[in-house]
Symmetry: C2
């Protein structure tokens, strides 16, 4: 790469102003933002995106899935586009960095390349994907663009059908229109994303940049522990068939199993619903929301088997019934080896320390597995905080990540 | 007691017809009834009560708390009334015996005594107390009549203030009027109740009648286990502060403590509320609904201390915070010794087996502790079922119980 390119840097002051303005949209006053997908606050953030694109002289367009794009046409002869993206939606009362930083950095990379008049072998597109967080469907925009969205996913979405329809109406979108966002894979040069780590590994190791090796697979189940409702005063302890015991014992045992036998994996019991749910009635049923993740498919299968065996063991122990309902199965997605290497080269060139790690969270990048090259970098999260107002990344780390993304785009586009 | 009185029996066919008609009101089609306090179905059951009283030539009145009474004046010179009662309200989708059987039996006892022209030394009053089950407040009618209702209890009732106001309006009652139901203790000769056991003890022992020694005390707490919300994918297992662990460990340990160290007592974790309650977020908080009961005050205190120490131990173990909120404290209530003895004498005379046992459930009788003599008998519950449509008591057991109540009234009223 010519010397002039390797010394190119983004404009930190411009990025700071841009990101600061974005952080005010849907701000909750405690450092966080509340911008669920297609809410009024999210749509206001998309107005910011549109204004940013126009003031930078970038082409702007919105597809049928509501994905917002700012495009820099590098050469009229280019047949492919390199997507640089993330998302402007947040979880309910989330942080201001998750997704938003990646979108602001993507725009800044395009601005830097445009103002330096650099022609790459692909066009560049900064993109804000619709509903990454899953308030409505999850990875809605990226899976639609990648041609991976199943109509079934819109029938019974995790946020409820009514919320989806209301969100689409608010954004002027239609259900049928979402599928028109699909692009031919030949048109995609790749997808790159900068994101906060959402964990403590980089901070603990004192490393500048995480180069994502794989995005974990996720499985989620609803486990129904079935007991019998009885009067909680007049029924002897020995006569009870208490669903809470199986659910509680499973919760403790699942953690032991994963921590003991599945290093690098995680398990979460995020919710229990008790029925009938009264102080004075023995629980007839507890529905437990279970999720677990692994970056490795084989390990994933073994963990699944071990956890289901554990659930069966606990219901036998407490004389309960068990109903197992699978909600979600995402296989792990490996990031493209070549892109990981170019990220590493860029870090070396910038004098930044880097480490390869798996992403425990899902990201839009996984929608492009098998469609085009994918790459992702993490910047450190202070105290690992995520999906909360206290989520924070030091400004120096944000700038470092932006420069790694810029350098990687240049290396890939001139290579 | 004269021979003619000791051979007096209730009319089983008349009781059967009466109770069968009552069971149809609010029937859910599966053997149960749905008659929450002051619901339309409950008010319809009270119309049945009114018609029963009138057709039997008993005086009928309703007090300011909505308690329905059928009165048999035995002698114009009587200054006291013996109350025979129970309640016609049910839990949501409850059984047809709980409360209703006691009211039908009380009416049958009055009919039998009236048709035999027997003069007792007190008047008799069959009474249907308002809201025993606590859909609105709990023991509302009996505590109002006993002069024990605190205005505070109506401010934030367990069923919600709105439900209470709507129920009162439906029944033509007023909040201020409830307190006018209070009677001078000098006017009360006592309170007797027949109820189903709601447990398996009598059935298991093969005994006809349970003579209640005490009604258990109840304490209920909301225990808040406080952790920290984190991303359930990107946060390492060792970095989590997971509220579900404390709540689960407490649930298992509380059962061990009560079964091991507090015989005859019970504990229930009837509900847990997870916040934020998502598959993919480590639980920041679990609010656990805890209730425990003991018939003995000293044992009760020890159990309370042991359970609270257990909660503290679990939060220390998992590095959580703890918030303790006490919801309810009912002390145990002993039944009057003399009344228990007369119940036993009546059983002996009728050739029925009997046993002394504590009531694990609360009942209107406890409102009269310290006000007047109280007595209560149980008839066996098949399989111990309670608060459920499968609740059932054999007809022979219902008739036996009714005759024990009749004989006890005669013995107390002639003695």
């Amino acid at each position: 790469m010519p010397k002039s390119f390797s010394t190119l840097r983004i404009n930190p002051a411009r990025l700071f102003d841009s990101f600061s303005a974005l952080s005010l949209i849907g701000a909750t006053g405690d450092g966080g933002v509340n911008r669920p997908a297609l809410s009024e606050a999210h749509l206001a953030a998309r107005d910011w995106f549109c204004a940013e694109a126009e003031s930078a002289g970038l082409d702007f367009h919105v597809d049928g899935a509501g994905n917002h794009s700012a495009v820099l046409t590098c050469q009229p002869s280019n047949l492919q586009t390199l997507l640089l993206g993330s998302h402007l939606d947040s979880v309910s009362n989330g942080g201001r960095f998750d997704g938003a930083l990646g979108v602001a950095v993507a725009l800044e990379v395009l601005k830097t390349i445009k103002e330096n008049g650099i022609n790459l072998k692909f066009d560049l597109e900064a993109i804000d994907f619709t509903d990454e967080e899953g308030t409505l469907v999850g990875l809605l925009g990226s899976s639609a663009l990648a041609g991976r969205l199943h109509p079934e996913a819109l029938k019974n979405p995790r946020g409820g059908r009514q919320n989806l329809l209301e969100g689409l109406a608010r954004a002027g979108l239609s259900e049928a229109g979402i599928f028109t966002a699909a692009r031919p894979k030949e048109s995609l040069a790749g997808y790159l994303e900068l994101h906060i780590e959402q964990g403590k590994r980089l901070e603990r190791m004192g490393i500048d940049i995480g180069i994502v090796s794989a995005i974990v697979g996720i499985r989620s189940y609803r486990l129904g522990f079935i007991g019998r409702a009885d009067h909680a005063g007049s029924t002897l302890m020995t006569d009870r068939v208490d669903a809470s015991l199986g659910a509680s014992a499973f919760t403790l045992a699942a953690r032991e199993i994963v921590m003991g036998d599945f290093p690098g994996c995680v398990v979460n019991v995020g919710r229990m619903d008790f029925a009938p749910g009264a102080f004075n009635i023995v629980p007839a049923r507890v529905d437990l929301s279970l999720e677990f993740r692994s970056p490795d498919e084989e390990q994933f299968e073994k963990m699944d088997t071990a956890l289901m065996a554990c659930a069966k063991e606990q219901v036998t122990r407490f004389d309960l019934g068990l109903e197992i309902e699978c909600f979600e199965k995402h296989a792990p997605n490996a990031m493209t080896a070549k892109v990981q290497q170019v990220f590493a080269d860029s870090c070396e060139d910038l004098g930044l320390t880097h480490v390869s790690l798996a992403s425990g969270a899902i990201h839009d990048g996984q929608s492009f597995d098998g469609v085009c090259p994918i790459g992702m970098i993490f910047v450190p999260s202070v105290d690992g905080a995520s999906h909360a107002p206290r989520e924070f990344t030091k400004w120096e780390d944000c700038v470092n990540g932006a420069n790694v993304l810029l350098q990687t785009v240049l290396r890939l586009g001139r290579g």
